[in-house]
Amino acid sequence: MINASLKEMAAALSAKKISSVELTQLFLARIKSLNPDLNAYITLDEARTLAQAKLADVRIAKGDVAPVTGIPFAQKDIFCAKDWRTTCGSRMLENFIAPYDAHVINQFDHAGAVNLGKTNMDEFAMGSSNETSYFGKVKNPWDTTRVPGGSSGGSAAAIAARLCAAATGTDTGGSIRQPASLCGFTGLKPTYGVVSRYGMIAFASSLDQAGPMAKSAEDCAVMLNVMAGFDERDSTSLQRDKEDYTRDLNKPLAGLKIGLPKEYFAEGLSAEVATVVQEAIAHYRKLGAETVDISLPNTQLSIPVYYVIAPAEASSNLSRYDGVRYGHRAAEYTDLLDMYCKSRAEGFGAEVKRRILIGTYVLSAGYYDAYYLKAQQIRRLIAQDFEEAFKHCDIIMGPSAPGTAFKIGEKADDPVSMYLQDIYTIAVNLAGLPGMSIPAGFANKLPVGLQIIGNYFDEARMLNVAHAYQQQTDWHKQMPEGME
């Protein structure tokens, strides 16, 4: 059951081959056994989880069933879930019990899904290795001396180690796609505005998007059907006709034009990863697609642009954490100013503080034009690169990450080196485009992901493209040794 797809689990539940309670207990047992080492989950609440499973069983008995009813999902600890501790990986929210549900949580609730628990993450979603969490590092189930990627590292490890049926993540600069690549599963970041951000603790408002992380493209499509849709509480949530993201899964690929950006196959990409990715692309040619060379000339600039815009927005978004109304307040302080400064110094980790300081700096008087404004201008150039590219191809492919999972601690002291992990994923967030990563093979026994980038609102096609590959290969079915 732990390797079953969402469709298979739903069928088994419907056919009463297994109950939601039993299915949930299956995963809870695995969590008990494997989580202490992997540290994928920050918060578990067995009683609450099983109560939900019981309710789901009642629904299933009545025949009132959605595709995810009774199925246990892991929720990234960035989503406020009512009466659940919601930490965002930070000491600042160590004891924060959310008094309301995020839209995403609501959607899963209404569909009768079960919340297995809150997964670990880089603090305030800032990181690419899940090493900045106040609640400890997460280990990559494929090699526990290595990182799972970040910021959705907990969800990633949970999927790889089969500690959940699937999980939610968020992606601001690659935080779904890069862990998907490093942990060998399928993750999708939708077009900006497709999934509501209400209740999703904000990092960089114009870049953040929630998305599904699962064992297959088909599972991601099922999850996206639950997560996507207009929410009036989010001004950036788009009002569009409801879509069924599974509708095109089985379309034939003949005639598909795949763009290969030359900048994604240049310096910085590990040779082993390049090989795997090229093989995957070759496979697509066999499936009837044709490839076309394209250029995204401003790719290199996406890093500095991102590291101006994201910290700037974050520095402002994180100002509300001041110890006044909730969250960490210092135990001792002399006056109001001291209370602010100590609470925030104690509540935030080093990486978060760094980004707040950079963000504050680039917005400060005299620097706004040179940094923030400039970055937003180059952002438009980056978006225009994609616009131009999509005139010549239907979909873009390349690596998701420049290498495979690196050793824990290897890049922790070198922020810049860590930032360069995001080189292939960041531009997608800047442009607001949808992006996916699917398992494409292994290099040195570690997973390698193939990134698929689509035009705005082209998720159904991307899922189709991914699904076609997954019908013919079984990289996505692999499980790490020792996790059975």
């Binding site: 919601t86 929210l93 959310a98 904000a202 960089a204 509480r233 927005e313 001041d322 909730y326």
Partner: protein
């Protein structure tokens, strides 16, 4: 050295909506602390703003009322600073592209007309409130007010005296109530003025360094504060000192302005467009929809009163000084059906005098428009004289009933019977032979004396016009 004071105003008006600018929490005044502070108001992690349609309509109304440009596209920006009554650590406001652009307001200062240019007006959210003394050394924060919609109205530094500034503030105060976007309640903080004051040698083109007097919530204090600050700046400069940019507070007890202690380096607000909000688009159709629902503006109404009712400009201006007064006047005319000037005289005269004396707004007048019309009718149909009417009015004000009731009760009906008046005149002429002789000798004033005697003899009830006529006839 001749000095000139240069004044600009920034006015924060709380908009008369049902809910906050970015969330569906109520903004009703007087609620228990934090009972109207929803998750958006207290800035919980993950919450987001959504713009209130009515707040936008209010902004458009204001723009139309001051003949301003209304931006087809305006942007919300974050103003970043830390303060306990600012839960997000930033205020959502508008910076480079405000919803309302350049406009103007013409005000009456004594007998001069002054046009004050409005630079811009923008939408933003109000902060919460800090309550002192909750506990020793602690402040208590109430976030009910956080998120209340504000329209911040900024003028060019066009005013040149405290009187001009106060005249502008009063006119603006009336205008925002007139177009029903603000309840104007200064005690409750619905209308707050910050005044920027600087001085310069007369004739100089360059602006002096300005200081900002914050949180003035009465026109009286505004006048005092500006006068004090102006003199203080002049004295400082004449003593060889320099003016440093500062925020100052006015102390009503001492009548002085003082720079705020916490003035450190000028705040770096790090404005940037709020990524949680999209550009606000206003189409010509949107503007037309608001225009269709706008009440007639004071200027237009003033002109119309001059035309329609033949009122002189001065009267028309006084009557349209407030919507409430204009409404009262119109109601009076409609119930009265007689000469408009009669109505305007009474509203501007006796009624206003009584209202001012009692400190009442016309809305709370004990004499309603209908009641006043009733009185005017009795003057017009000669039931009572104009002079007698004043007494009747006093009685009406005191709550003794309507005009007819009082006239009947006190037997004040004017005597208009010529026979009766003749009898009185004959009586008076007989009893005042000296005065008659003086009049016949050419002393015009004696006539008035005789009229007076007739009025006295009739306990004021004789119709004065008839008395005059009959007296003249009999003395001829």
């Amino acid at each position: 050295m001749q000095w000139e004071v240069v004044i600009g105003l920034e006015t924060h008006t709380q908009l008369k909506t049902n809910t906050k600018i970015f969330s569906g929490a109520s903004i009703k005044y007087g609620a228990e602390p934090n009972t109207q502070a929803d998750e958006v108001s207290i800035a919980l992690p993950g919450v987001l703003p959504v713009l209130n349609a009515e707040a936008v309509r209010c902004a458009i109304k204001f723009g139309l009322a001051v003949n301003a440009e209304i931006a087809p596209r305006s942007i919300f920006a974050r103003k970043n600073y830390f303060y306990p009554d600012l839960p997000k650590g930033y205020q959502i406001s508008q910076y480079e592209l405000p919803v309302v652009g350049k406009g103007s307001l013409t005000v009456q200062v004594g007998d001069q007309e002054k046009t004050v240019r409005i630079t811009r007006a923008h939408l933003e959210e109000d902060a919460g409130k800090s309550v002192h003394g909750a506990q020793e050394g602690m402040s208590g924060i109430d976030l009910n007010r956080a998120g209340t919609p504000l329209l911040e109205i900024v003028t060019e530094p066009d005013m040149r005296s405290a009187a001009e500034a106060v005249a502008y503030a009063k006119k603006l105060h009336e205008l925002v109530q007139w177009i029903d976007i603000c309840d104007g309640n200064m005690q409750e903080g619905s209308f707050r003025c910050d005044v920027n004051v600087s001085v310069r040698p007369k004739g100089s083109e360059k602006l002096g360094t300005r200081r900002e007097i914050k949180n003035l919530n009465s026109f009286k204090f505004m006048q005092q504060a500006i006068e004090y600050e102006t003199q203080w700046q002049i004295d400082t400069l004449e003593d060889g000192g320099t003016i440093h940019q500062a925020t100052v507070l006015f102390n009503p007890d001492t009548g002085e302005t003082r720079a705020m202690r916490s003035k450190e380096e000028a705040n770096d607000y790090r404005y940037f467009p709020d990524p949680d909000l999209l550009p606000l688009a206003i189409s010509p159709a949107d503007i037309d929809a608001v225009k269709a629902n706008m009440p007639e503006l004071p200027e237009a109404m003033k002109s119309r009163f001059e035309q329609q009712y033949g009122l002189p400009a001065y009267d028309a201006a006084a009557i349209t000084a407030s919507k409430a007064m204009a409404d009262y006047f119109v109601a009076t005319i409609q119930a009265f059906g007689g000469e408009a000037k009669q109505a305007s005289n009474w509203v501007m005269g006796s009624l206003s005098a009584k209202l001012n004396e009692a400190g009442l707004d016309i809305i709370n007048s004990p004499v309603s428009a209908q009641a006043l019309a009733g009185l005017l009718k009795r003057i017009a149909d000669n039931t009572i004289s104009g002079k007698m009417a004043k007494d009747v009015f006093e009685a009406m004000w005191a709550g003794e009933g309507d005009a007819d009731t009082i006239i009947a009760k006190k037997g004040l009906k004017q005597v208009s019977d010529s026979g009766a008046i003749e009898a009185i005149v004959d009586q008076v002429l007989a009893a005042n032979a000296v005065m008659v002789a003086e009049y016949k000798a050419g002393k015009e004033k004696a006539f008035n004396g005789l009229v007076g005697q007739c009025m006295k003899a009739s306990q004021g009830k004789a119709n004065p016009a008839q008395v005059n006529e009959i007296l003249k006839k009999k003395l001829a």
